[in-house]
């Protein structure tokens, strides 16, 4: 229970359905420290909201102190990922570690038969297997963030909100007379309330100097940049590079020599990528050896696009070839596999991949398959 509308309604629904419910809230970081107010309580308003809701619906509620493991499993990898020139998604790491490893462990220890969360995603079960599907409310679908849920975890978790829309959730919050019915959805990364992640990278990263040069794709040097962790593939704003005929984007971040490669948008086009640490939720046997037709999604804000998947170069890896080239594919982000609404799993995008080859003189003519 985060103290937000979704998990609150989830708890109230389960109570209404007659389940014996225990409310759990994870204390993930020191709220006072995160907002630089040392005299502020370690818990934010959200924990108090969660307690109020639990009290209202008449269930016991406990706060689990996961500060240390959240720092180890989420915040530090987040900082280190930026330092590798990647664009991390801490919410997925959090789901993978503290939420679906430690919280499930705690729930089992407390005698629970299932762990329910307020995620918008569906779970289906038949005699043979448990499967994961996109939410009924496609605009709220959180499947991108949950691709790493393993079959074992999936057997234990439940997502009651996957079947309803966010609007219906708000109506239910009103119906249950929950104080948080009008509470705004959270937007930012929870432990970066100010939206500035560079402080976190400075504080929790390795501290290694990462300044280097901007290099144009055509090879010419474009001056110094102030550290690779400040850039993300596909970024256009805030580069401080002018004087070019067309807008410049970050095309690639070369970790070894701290180079940030910039170029025109056309150079962002990716045709094929390799993903690592694949979690496979499709038919038994893992990622197929021969190419299989799927839809792939490389950002939460993108719609899945048609692609082919097959086993990758190394263990736990897969190769994903897009029918049409994709723009703004960032190493460190997730690539999630779908078959229609069913989630087949996903993996983490690795650096490299194959750029689409477009003759230089044709580059400004536009490319099919542009993504927003």
């Amino acid at each position: 229970m985060s103290g937000g509308v979704d998990s609150s309604v989830c708890a109230a629904l389960l109570v209404e359905q007659g389940y014996d419910v225990i409310g759990l809230t994870m204390q993930l970081y020191d709220h006072g420290a995160a907002t630089s107010k040392s005299k502020t309580c370690c818990a934010g308003q959200d924990i108090h909201d969660a307690k109020r809701v639990a009290d209202k619906v008449g269930i016991p509620h406990y706060v689990l102190d996961y500060e240390k493991r959240f720092e180890k499993d989420v915040i530090i990898p987040f900082a280190e990922s930026y330092q590798r020139g990647e664009t991390p998604i801490p919410c997925i790491l959090c789901n993978q570690t503290v939420k679906f490893r430690d919280l499930i462990d705690a729930a089992r220890d407390f005698g629970a038969e299932a762990l329910a969360t307020g995620h918008y995603i569906r779970r289906a079960e038949d005699e043979e297997a448990v499967s994961l599907h996109r939410a009924v409310d496609q605009s709220k679908d959180q499947s991108y963030f949950l691709f790493a849920t393993t079959p074992e975890q999936l057997a234990f978790v439940r997502f009651p909100l996957g079947e309803i829309s966010k609007a219906e959730t708000r109506v239910l919050a009103e119906k249950f007379d929950l104080d948080i019915a009008d509470k705004a959805d959270s937007q930012d990364i929870c432990f970066v309330p100010t939206g500035s992640y560079t402080n976190i990278v400075d504080k929790f990263g390795s501290g290694a100097a990462s300044q280097g040069r901007f290099v144009h794709v055509d090879g010419h040097d474009m001056g110094e940049h102030n550290g690779i962790e400040n850039y993300t593939v596909g970024q256009r704003r805030g580069l401080g590079l002018g004087g070019e005929a067309e807008p410049l984007y970050v095309i690639e971040i070369r970790l070894a020599d701290h180079e940030v490669v910039v170029g025109p948008r056309a150079d962002l086009a990716k045709h094929e990528i390799e993903v690592r640490d694949v979690n496979w939720l499709g038919a038994p046997g893992g990622v197929p050896e021969t190419e299989m037709r799927i839809q792939a999604r490389v950002r939460n804000t993108h719609e899945p696009v048609s692609a082919l998947i097959s086993q990758g170069a190394g263990a736990g890896q897969a190769k994903v070839s897009f029918d049409e080239p994709l723009y703004g594919v960032s190493p460190g982000q997730a690539c999630v596999f779908y078959d229609g609404d069913q989630v087949l799993g996903g993996g983490w995008i690795m650096a490299g991949g194959t750029n689409m080859t477009v003759p230089h003189n044709k580059r400004n003519e536009g490319v099919a398959g542009l993504q927003a």
């Binding site: 204390q27 818990a43 108090h48 706060v63 102190d65 705690a106």
Partner: protein, 367 residues
């Protein structure tokens, strides 16, 4: 605040169940109209209620009633004395034992916190060493008995050492009354602080007691109540309830029965799980408290599972969020981080029976 039938309450050091007589006294006092500072009949009547309570509270600790200043509780009492002495210039430095309550600890620098030994008792040798290097007027804060472990501190000896060097002593005696005899004069401290809800009185009321006339700069200023030491309209109903709880506590002692129960429970706990550790067991403890660690099982897990099974215990000092933090008291006693993080406190009292503890031991053994 009665204990529900389906629960077994073993957290008396957090707060004790209110005596039914106290509920009646508070309820009756709430019905009485009047502000104790008013000249009229109603005001005089409320004044009388407050002064009767002051007599009862002072009687419990063997001091004349004018020695008592009512506050909103133990924390405010500690704050009023410490900050009052600092602000008046009566003292310029504050020392304390490393196992004090946060309302005291927060006033001191780590180098001014005197260590305790592995049994949890203030190290008098270290205290002497620290005081030797000291000249300016100072205050030492040492609690009568620790809220987490029940370990009784050598307040008399510490007070004598401090007084030899011209310092003052504040003794946080919040966990004392009802668990051991508290006699102001034999303790030797200059200030004692108390809280009503630890002895079956209402929450939100407490006091400090002193026999000195050292200047205290008031923290709360305004109407000049409590001889200008604590302004603000008195919590008359709460104070009346405190008086009633003090009378009951003075009249009936349950210390011996409680001590036998606790010792029997500890024997049963150790028999069920020989690998556990009871903190402060070799030292001098009050008779109602057990602090016990099960290595490898976090306090958090133990508390939650016991709560779900119907037992109320606690660990460390809970943050307002409900997050269970590692006990600074156990760390100060030399416990490892792991051990300190796997300890819980069981504190019993007048309402506890062997039947309750038998059930508790049975469930605890399965954690």
């Amino acid at each position: 605040m009665a204990i529900p039938d389906d629960r077994i309450y073993l957290d008396y050091n957090a707060t004790a169940p209110v005596y039914p007589e106290v509920v009646d006294v508070v309820s009756s006092a709430l019905r009485d109209l009047g502000n104790a500072s008013s000249v009229h009949a109603e005001g005089r009547s409320v004044r009388g209620t407050i002064e009767d309570a002051r007599d009862s509270v002072s009687n419990l600790i063997g001091l004349p009633s004018q020695s008592i200043t009512f506050t909103s509780g133990g924390t405010e009492a500690n704050t009023t004395v410490i900050r009052g002495l600092l602000d008046s210039g009566a003292v310029s430095n504050v020392y304390c034992s490393a196992v004090e309550h946060p309302s005291v600890l927060e006033y001191t620098d780590p180098q001014h916190q005197i260590p305790v030994d592995e049994d949890g008792q203030l190290d008098l040798g270290k205290l002497e060493d620290v005081l030797k290097q000291h000249n300016a007027p100072f205050l030492l804060c040492v609690m009568l008995t620790n809220n987490e472990t029940g370990v009784i501190q050598p307040v008399r000896e510490a007070s004598d050492l401090v007084h030899e060097r011209g310092g003052l002593v504040l003794c946080d005696a919040v966990q004392g009354p009802g668990k051991l005899a508290v006699d102001f004069n034999s303790l030797g401290a200059d200030f004692l602080t108390f809280s009503a809800h630890k002895i079956g009185g209402p929450q939100g009321v407490g006091c400090f007691a002193t026999n000195t006339d050292v200047a205290l700069e008031p923290v709360l200023i305004g109407g000049g109540q409590e001889k200008k030491r604590r302004s603000g309209t008195e919590n008359a109903a709460g104070i009346a309830g405190y008086g009633a709880a003090a009378r009951i506590t003075a009249e009936k002692s349950d210390v011996e029965r409680v001590g036998k129960l606790r010792d029997r429970m500890e024997a049963a706990l150790l028999e069920a799980r020989p690998d556990v550790c009871i903190f402060g067991q070799n030292g001098s403890r009050i008779s109602n408290t057990t602090n016990i660690a099960i290595p490898g099982i976090s306090s958090e897990r133990q508390l939650i599972k016991l709560d779900l099974a119907g037992f109320s215990v606690s660990a460390g000092s809970a943050c307002s969020s409900g997050k269970v933090s590692t006990s600074h008291v156990l760390l100060a006693m030399g416990a490892s981080e792991d051990m300190a993080q796997s300890a819980i406190r069981i504190s019993i009292g007048v309402g506890t029976s062997w039947h309750d503890l038998e059930k508790f031991v049975a469930v605890w053994a399965t954690l």
